[in-house]
């Protein structure tokens, strides 16, 4: 099965059923199918060839989905580009994956033009109406009206191999630049199909889309939903971030299936009124991306007695590879819930530093093999194939009943509000500033903190933030920047990362006023 083959069967059998609802636009299966065909036929007519990368730099919604599907039907590889990331980061990604074709909104286009569109981008497709600015030499801007007028004749990729590359997801990279994770149709659908089967997803289901498309949680939202002819309810980010408005939306739209990082659920618990109002329509809650603090998980499960909760686990590179269903509220005495047992047809091993299997209860690194493991990293067009089995960098231990427990990372990758961040990438951006000699980044209580050793004593925190904001997506900008006169060092002269964290923790001033709306500001 392939992503480009989804949707069309339901356009024939239930053409009037809503495929995507909101924000601002809603499409039936027949309309989504036609619009995807228009994109596909238009892309082909303008030189998109099988295997070409097509960037989609459009806020989450029906238009963006039609563009992703259209790219796939043209046989191309789609690349979701974060609308909130600065143009400088988009340039790095465009250069890495040789992006010639980008679907974009007029607003985001004006940002790109102001920052200078970069080679190899040469075709920009407007996803909505708007002024078509004069493009720089060598770049063609395609107005929305032309795409909307393209042929809706059925388009399908020439290849029917599930092992073709379907999309690239750029994640934070340990080398200091983002890296493109290569996911095949088989990889994506092994997870989507497993998830749809596990929860018996049906056309009557109304699935919430709250995760950004460049974030791997969205793979379920899109492709599991369309594999079953269900309805995707797209919720814009500002609604997600306001627990109360999100809960209003769940009630108003009768959302039945939810998949998010725990923070998004906690926003509805604290300040959103979930405990008073409940959410009777919800029947499935998937969560992933970070540890769900036990106290809040117990609260959420208590107010949603009808919903079945599942903890899903896996890095972008392996999609979801472990899953744990929670048949009942975990006991108060439980310190943590399992990340589960192998899912999606994957197999796992837990090994010590020499690569030897560990015994039950002993901590080792999680290795994963099976249909969800990525093809590799794109690496500027010189793909690095995935190692098999794939070493995740996660430390885990197995209980006698087979459940896997999580014990942290072996490297400097952290999660802030569910976003995966390689600290090296933040540090590399910081030290690109001529006034910064060294920098250490770390996560603390849901915040990203940077300790900076300036070479220029006049350097201000504001100047550092401005510098970061031009290079990094908002979630990777350190919220707390500390200027230090020196950095603690180990006997070998390397920066002592642990000592840096302790010294900063010791001098943290009174934290900002906690807000019910913001989970990162809260002590669980």
């Amino acid at each position: 099965m392939r992503i480009d083959r989804l949707v069309a069967p339901f356009a024939r059998t239930s053409p009037e059923h809503i495929a995507v609802d909101g924000p601002g636009e809603s499409l039936t299966y027949a309309q989504l199918d036609q619009l995807a065909n228009r994109f596909a036929n238009y892309f082909r007519a303008h030189g998109v060839a099988p295997g070409d990368r097509v960037g989609v730099h459009v806020p989450r919604g029906a238009r963006a989905i039609a563009a992703l599907l259209g790219a796939s039907r043209a046989g191309a590889v789609y690349v979701p580009l974060d609308p909130s990331s600065p143009p400088a980061r988009m340039k790095v990604i465009a250069a890495d994956c040789g992006l010639q074709h980008v679907v974009i909104t007029p607003t985001l286009l004006s940002n790109w033009l102001a920052a200078g569109v970069c080679a190899p981008v040469c075709h920009l497709y407007l996803a909505t109406d708007g002024n078509t600015p004069t493009p720089p030499a060598g770049v063609i801007i395609h107005p929305w009206a032309d795409i909307a007028a393209a042929s809706p004749a059925p388009a399908v990729a020439g290849s029917d191999s599930p092992d073709d590359l379907a999309y690239l997801l750029y994640t934070s990279g340990s080398t200091g630049t983002p890296k493109g994770v290569m996911i095949s149709h088989r990889n994506a659908l092994a997870f989507a199909e497993w998830a749809a089967q596990t929860i018996a997803l049906a056309p009557a289901d109304r699935v919430a889309s709250v995760a950004p498309f460049h974030f791997d949680l969205s793979v379920f939202d899109l492709w599991a939903t369309f594999s079953r002819g269900a309805t995707l309810i797209v919720v814009d980010e500002s609604t997600v971030l306001s627990g109360r408005r999100m809960l209003d939306r769940i009630h108003a739209q009768n959302i039945t299936v939810w998949y998010s990082v725990p923070s998004a659920l906690m926003l509805m618990l604290d300040g959103g009124g979930l405990e008073e109002r409940g959410a009777p329509s919800l029947r499935v809650v998937f969560f992933a991306g970070e540890v769900f603090p036990m106290r809040h998980l117990r609260r959420a499960m208590a107010v949603l007695p009808r919903a079945r909760f599942h903890n899903l686990f896996g890095p972008t590179e392996t999609n979801v590879c472990l899953a744990h269903a929670l048949p009942e509220i975990p006991a108060e005495t439980e310190a943590a819930i399992p990340i589960g047992q192998p899912s999606c047809g994957d197999s796992i091993a837990i090994v010590d530093e020499q690569g030897r299997p560990v015994t039950d209860g002993e901590i080792g690194e999680l290795l994963v093999d099976g249909p969800t493991v990525m093809l590799g990293y794109w690496n500027g067009g010189q793909p690095l194939p995935a190692r098999h089995p794939y070493p995740t960098g996660d430390f885990v231990a197995r209980r006698p009943n087979g459940d896997i427990m999580y014990h942290g990372r072996r490297d400097h990758m952290v999660k802030v509000r569910g976003f995966r961040i390689e600290l090296a990438e933040v540090e590399a951006a910081l030290t690109q500033h001529p006034g910064i000699r060294e920098a250490v980044a770390f996560a603390k209580e849901g915040h990203l903190v940077a300790a900076v050793l300036p070479s220029d004593p006049g350097l201000s925190v504001l100047a550092i933030k401005r510098h970061c904001s031009a290079r990094l997506p908002p979630y990777m900008i350190p919220s707390d920047v500390r200027l230090l006169a020196q950095l603690p060092r180990t006997s070998s002269g390397k920066v002592d990362r642990i000592a840096v964290q302790t010294s900063i923790a010791d001098c943290i001033p009174s934290s900002p006023k906690p807000s019910a709306e913001v989970p990162g500001e809260r002590n669980p």
Binding site: S84, E237, S238, L241, S242, R245, R417, G458, S460, V461, L462, A463, K465, R466, C468, S469, A470, L472, P474, Y475, I477, S479, D480, V481, R482, L483, P509, P512, K513, S515, A516, E517, V518, G520, E521
Partner: protein
């Protein structure tokens, strides 16, 4: 509360919360978005602060990049909201 005090309260909150107390280079005209201070997440934190401090409960449509562009823009937003509140029945 007068304009000067409102402006100072917002200024001090931003400096303490997102600039680690470092006021240097930070003017009341500084673009908060460009400064990497405001994103969709911190914007809601700031909106909650305006509500708590000045009883200026903004509607979702008022929480936008234009009103939140700088300390000065925020001050005007709060003043407009308070003026409206005092004239309505």
């Amino acid at each position: 509360m007068n304009e000067v005090l409102i402006r100072k309260t917002i200024h001090d909150y931003i400096v303490a919360t997102w600039l680690s107390g470092d006021e240097r280079d930070f003017s009341d005209d500084a673009d908060l978005l460009q400064a990497g201070i405001l994103d969709s997440f911190t914007t809601l934190n700031l909106a909650a602060f305006l509500d708590e401090s000045f009883r200026a409960a903004l509607d979702p449509t008022e929480i936008n990049p234009h009103n939140f562009r700088s300390v000065n823009a925020l001050t005007q937003t709060v003043l407009a909201k308070l003026a409206l509140a005092s004239t309505s029945p």
